[in-house]
Every structure is written in structure tokens, then in C-alpha cells.
Amino acid sequence: MTPTPGVRLESVRVVVETVDGPLEVLQATSLDLVERRVALIGPNGSGKSTLARLVNGLVEPTAGRVLVDGLDVVESGREVRRRVGFVFTDPAAQLVMPTAAEDVALSLRRTHRDPAVRRRAAEDVLAAYGLAGLGDRSVHALSGGQRQLLALAGVLATGPSVLVADEPTTLLDLANARRVGDLLLGLDLQLLLVTHDLELAARCDRALLVDGGRVVRDGPAPEVVEHYRATA
């Protein structure tokens, strides 16, 4: 049987334990996400990041199941993580090697065994994302925009078919936010974009408005964004 492409949530609930008792951060949610660019918008604490983190197993469902290309995220975690890349808001924690080239090379260790070939491939990846010549630069010495591009390059170097980006432009200035946003929307893969940047969200194919742990609006991105602007 051909696996169903895209991301599917089947009656997924997420409950976390807090000092005040169990808290339902995502109510029972069923979704089929097959569009190329899907935006997740909503207020802080609404559950949109939780929903996004379900897709590559950073958060496991309390009930229900999450499928990526037909693979269960919990049962086939390793295979799913190879297909799903994740970009965090703050690239500082995501960059785990001292220099830019070494960080990209870390992502390439599985696919490029020869060190010299891996190093050249890392330089090619850096050049493809506008970071040419910065391979030996300390990740500390990069600007915020360059760090986010590097984090993105490190994830995309693994060749994912789905990319989840959790507020990737929040810490960036206007020019870098535009640069990263344009890059994300132009990628040839499925993008799940958690964002407060409503202009960016409106450029997606579909948007989900999340509030109070549930999807309260779902449809073409411009319409959902307009509704959110009018009701927020």
C-alpha cells in the first residue's frame, strides 16, 4: 500500500503534568496536512508550538497518533526524524559545533563518510544559503540572521521532506526576517510554519488558527489571517 503523503493527526490530545495537576495543552485534534506551505498562527500559549512539535516527536501525544508519510511518529521515530527537519526560534541551542562548516558537517556525517568530501559538501551547503566564506567563522561571531540561516542550512543538509519551523523569524530584524521568510516559503518541501508574522503566514497555502489548545479556524491562509486580525 502506498503511504499517505503529508502529515496526519488522528484524534491527538496532549496533556502535561503541572504543579496544579494535569493540563490539556492540545484538545482532541484531527488534521490532514498535505498542502506545501501550512502556517500555524495564534496567541502565545495557544498550543501551536505543541502541535508543531508533535510532527517530529519532540512532543509525544497523550492519546491518538501522528503520521508523517504514513509513518507513526512514536513507533517509527528514527525514520520520521530523517524526514522531518525542525528549526527552533533561537538558533543558539541548535548550533552545537564551534564553527559554521563544522556544524553543517555534523548533519552530513551520515551521508558523507569521507571527511574531505564532507567538508566540501558543507561549504557547498553554506554557499547555497548565502553563507559562503563563513565556514571557519565561530558560530558566536555570526549575526542573528546568519545564525538562523546556518541553523536552517544544518537542518536542510539532511534532506528532509517536511520542515517544521517554530517562530524562526521572531528574533530577527526586519531585513533578516524577510530573508529567512522568503527562503522558507521558496523551499521545495512541505513547510509547517509556526509564526506571529501574519504577512508571512498569509503567503502560505493554508493556515490553522490555534487558540486555547484547539484549532479554531482552518482554511486558505489569507482568509484565516484576516479573521485572526479582526478578532485578536
Binding site: N56, G57, L58, R78, R81, R82, G85, F86, F88, D90, A92, A93, Q94, V96, M97, P98, T99, E102, A105, L106, S107, R109, R110, P115, R118, R119, D136, S138, H140, G154, V155, T158
Partner: protein, 202 residues
Amino acid sequence: MSDLLGLHRPGTTLLHRLGAGTKLLGLVVLGVVVVLVSGPVTALPLVAGAAGVLAWASGGVRPVWRALRGVLLVVVLLGAWLAWAQGWERAVERMADVATLVLLATVLTTTTPIDAMLDAITRGLRPLRRVGVSPEGVALAFSLMLRSVPATLDLARETRDAARARGLERDPRALLVPLALRTVAHARATGQALHARGIGDD
């Protein structure tokens, strides 16, 4: 401060051309020698030698100063305590030992790409796979350790600035508690990032 153990600097010196495994082994052997040899008469030439090697490998004395500056406070405090508890000879010897080890470690990181070190560790530990050791896991832990030193120093600096902004720079709780919490949070975030990149899955 952020690059306490130095960054790899491409070069053509003999040390740059030596294999990463040889240099790692050399660092272990020299580390043992530095700790075992006692007395300031031998400790001081060792620190001078290590400084000379680092200056040669990195093309100047500035990296030597940068490496020593990062541990200066710890070395001075250690020396003061040892001088009071065990006498000045012991203090000089131990201060020189710490400085020598930091300088030698910096020689390794300056002349060796992390990627080559990961390969060397993975290769060296491969025989231990039979007894359940994951060479890739140990290599990754090694590189994360190198990265976590400057990252923790950055967190300490930010925490000190935050305490200073509230006029609490003399309150140890305002420094230590947030630093501990932020360090754990950083470690968790790094773990999540590795998990998300599928690193460590193999």
C-alpha cells in the same frame, strides 16, 4: 571568552599535519606527565613550553593570552587557597599545571577540526562497540563538552549582566540560581535540537 579553548585555525605547521588521533593520544600522555611531575622547577618550564607551542601553532602570542585569560580567575583563586593550605611551592606547581593543560588543549583545538576529532574518537573506540559502547555517542559527547564550556561562560556573563541591571551583583543567589536554571534549560534545548536533527539516532 566565548572561544576559551580556541577555534580551529587552518595552517600548515607540523601540528596541523599530524593526525587527530595522534594529537589526542599525545594530549592524554602529556596530561598524565604534567600531573605526575611535581615541583615548580619542572612545572614552570612545562607551562612555558606549552605557551611556546601554542604561539607557534596559532601564529602569535594573542591566542596564548586569550586561553590563559579564560581561566585566570580560577587559577588565581586555586593558587591563593593552595598557598594558604599547602605552601607557595605547591600553589605555583598546581597553577602551572592547570595553565599547561589548558594551553595544550588549546593547541589541540586550534590545530584540529572538530570533525577530524570526531572521526578519530569514533575510529579509536570502534573495538569497544562489542561491549556496548557507542563510539559515535562518545564522540558527540566530546564535541558537546567542548562547545558547552564557552556556552556556559556566555550564560554566566548574561546572568551577571541581568543581576547587575537589577542592582543584585553582590547577591550570590541572583547569580548562581538563574545560572544553574539557564544551564539546565540550555542543555535541554541542545538535546531537543540534536533529537530534531536525528543526531545520535545511528
